[in-house]
């Protein structure tokens, strides 16, 4: 019982590998269908989601509207991951779901030269210009992933394994991933499931709050939700009551703790005296 997150610098190649891994293991594939569901519920276009996930065009700066879309997608994703035995194709899952030991994260790299060649042919530009374009895009993706998720997507340490399809063929890559997923260390355990449940709960709460309280940081542990607000503002007491009431209605929430921190402080340095 495990789940596999597959991402790639070439989304169509990542999709093909994810589909084949799913078929090999008999796992459900989570990808486009989930995105379509979230598109339906949020009203944000699929194209905007693809842009926000760095799949099309230069990755945008995270704005409030798109932030809400991403939060909704993450909530839907972690909810689905609680089901186990899934292969997730992209969706930024590898950047969001971290520290869950039964989830295997794989990065698939397409051959750089062949990508540059295809880009040069598609856009009718020189191979050198195509290479520069790809390199620039990689830098943008790196900045975007760091600013939105605090994780460098281009750093191999982000993944359990990186497979370069320049020399390793798809069939071997699929077999390697499928064999690895069968390893006992990727079997879900009570603790790893608890970590995932905590993340899913935090995501549910974040999705509920993002429209009215976009700046609130959310964490969860054993049903207790911890909210971290950047600062106290006018009407604080009423805000606290509203937050308690709103969060208390989210399924799975047993308690709410609200903490504050000055804007310059980070989460670990927060004033944890509570309110």
């Amino acid at each position: 019982m495990t789940s596999i997150l597959i991402s790639s610098d070439n989304p169509s190649m990542g999709k093909a590998i994810a589909r084949q891994v799913g078929e090999a293991l008999g796992y459900d594939l989570v990808g486009d269908a989930l995105l379509s569901e979230v598109v339906g519920t949020t009203g944000i276009s699929k194209r905007d989601f693809e842009k926000a996930l760095g799949l099309e065009g230069p990755p945008p700066r995270p704005g409030r509207g798109m932030g809400a879309g991403l939060v909704a997608l993450q909530a839907a994703l972690t909810e689905r991951l609680l089901g186990d035995n899934l292969v997730v194709d992209g969706l930024g899952a590898h950047l969001h779901v971290r520290g869950v030991s039964h989830i295997l994260t794989i990065r698939i790299l397409a051959d750089f030269r062949s990508r540059a060649h295809h880009l040069a042919v598609d856009r009718k530009i020189s191979p050198r210009a195509a290479r520069r374009l790809l390199e620039r895009r990689e830098r943008q993706i790196q900045q975007w992933s760091l600013s939105v998720f605090g994780v460098d997507e281009t750093n191999p340490s982000t993944y359990d394994m990186v497979i370069n399809l320049g020399n390793i063929d798809e069939e071997r890559a699929v077999k390697t991933i499928a064999d690895t997923a069968g390893d006992r260390k990727f079997v879900s355990m009570t603790y790893s499931m608890k970590c995932l449940e905590n993340l899913a709960l935090a995501d549910r709460v974040r999705a509920r709050l993002v429209a009215d309280f976009p700046g609130v940081e959310v964490g969860a542990e054993d049903g207790v939700v911890k909210l971290l607000l950047a600062k106290r503002w006018f009407g604080w007491q009423r805000t606290v009551e509203t937050l308690r009431e709103t969060v208390g209605k989210v399924p799975g929430v047993d308690g709410v703790e609200i903490h504050t921190a000055p804007l310059t402080k980070r989460e670990g340095e927060a004033d944890m005296t509570g309110s």
């Binding site: 030991s101 990065r107 790299l109 750089f112 281009t154 750093n155 191999p156 340490s157 993944y159 359990d160 394994m161 990186v162 497979i163 370069n164 320049g166 020399n167 390793i168 063929d169 071997r172 077999k175 390697t176 064999d179 690895t180 390893d183 260390k185 990727f186």
Partner: protein, 270 residues
């Protein structure tokens, strides 16, 4: 018939992975031996070679003749060693020194920084902070070295066929994955890739023989036919031609030797 290069940082357990892989496949495993061979063959103290490939060059000595020569010697020793195939090399820069050879499986082993710090503290003592500083500095030295000499970032995963993060995976898991990957036809030596390896070894041998006197020349080899490129003028080219005449008798496998003066060397030459 395959060559496996394993790139690793300190305390990444890459050495253990290399040794176990070699044992499992019945391959030869080597690293420092290349330096010893280069040291013996070219009569250079091993410590000078170690410094040339370990310490990142400063701005002043980045292009010094000695460093260029030492690296040419090491590359010559390495290509000469691996051309017999069925080897696992886990020394520095195998993935760049053996660039362009199809039957080389390039693997990078990375480890969790906290695990590495714990290992460093256990071995060298001191605090975790000091250990972290030492590891970061060592990583940066290695990174700068590869960047300055070859213009590539060794941390770029695109340089490798497989990057394995030793954290949740054990060294044995990594061995398993490498052995499975190497079993594919793609990494078996073919007559063409074998010839390319022999040509690379020969080109590196020629470069090592002339680098002291002609540090700016570049060497290409195809089917034993050597072409030496130099950007310098006619007088320089003439001197080079004189030196080159004696090479056929010094190195085995050379069919023809040509010198092209005033030419910008193409990509892929050594």
């Amino acid at each position: 018939m395959t060559i496996i290069t394993i790139s690793r940082g300190s305390y990444s357990r890459g050495k253990e992975v290399a040794e176990k892989t070699a044992e499992r496949l019945g391959y030869e495993c080597f690293s420092r031996d290349v330096l010893l061979e280069a040291s013996e063959h070219f009569h250079i103290p091993e410590i000078k070679l170690v410094r040339a490939i370990h310490d990142a060059p400063t701005l002043l000595n980045r292009f010094t003749l000695n460093r260029k020569s030492y690296i040419a010697y090491i590359q010559s020793a390495l290509t000469n060693h691996v051309k017999k195939d069925n080897v696992v090399y886990h020394g520095l820069a195998g993935h760049v020194l053996l660039k362009g050879i199809d039957h080389v499986l390039k693997v990078r082993i990375i480890a969790d920084i906290n695990d590495r710090v714990a290992q460093e503290v256990k071995r060298e003592g001191g605090t975790g902070e000091e250990a972290l500083r030492r590891l970061v500095s060592d990583d940066q030295e290695r990174r700068k070295w590869t960047q300055s000499l070859y213009g590539v970032d060794p941390w770029d995963p695109a340089l490798y066929d497989l990057v394995i993060h030793i954290h949740r995976f054990s060294a044995d898991d990594a061995v398993e994955m490498i052995c499975a990957a190497v079993g594919k036809e793609r990494f078996k030596a073919t007559p063409v890739s074998g010839q390319r390896m022999a040509d690379l070894a020969l080109a590196c041998g020629v470069k090592a023989a002339i680098v002291d006197a002609f540090p700016d020349c570049a060497v290409a080899c195809e089917y034993g036919n050597i072409v030496i490129y130099t950007r310098k003028d006619d007088r320089h080219t003439h001197k080079l031609e004189q030196r080159v005449k004696s090479l056929s008798s010094e190195l085995e496998g050379i069919n023809t030797l040509e010198v092209h003066g005033g030419v910008v060397p193409p990509d892929g030459v050594v």
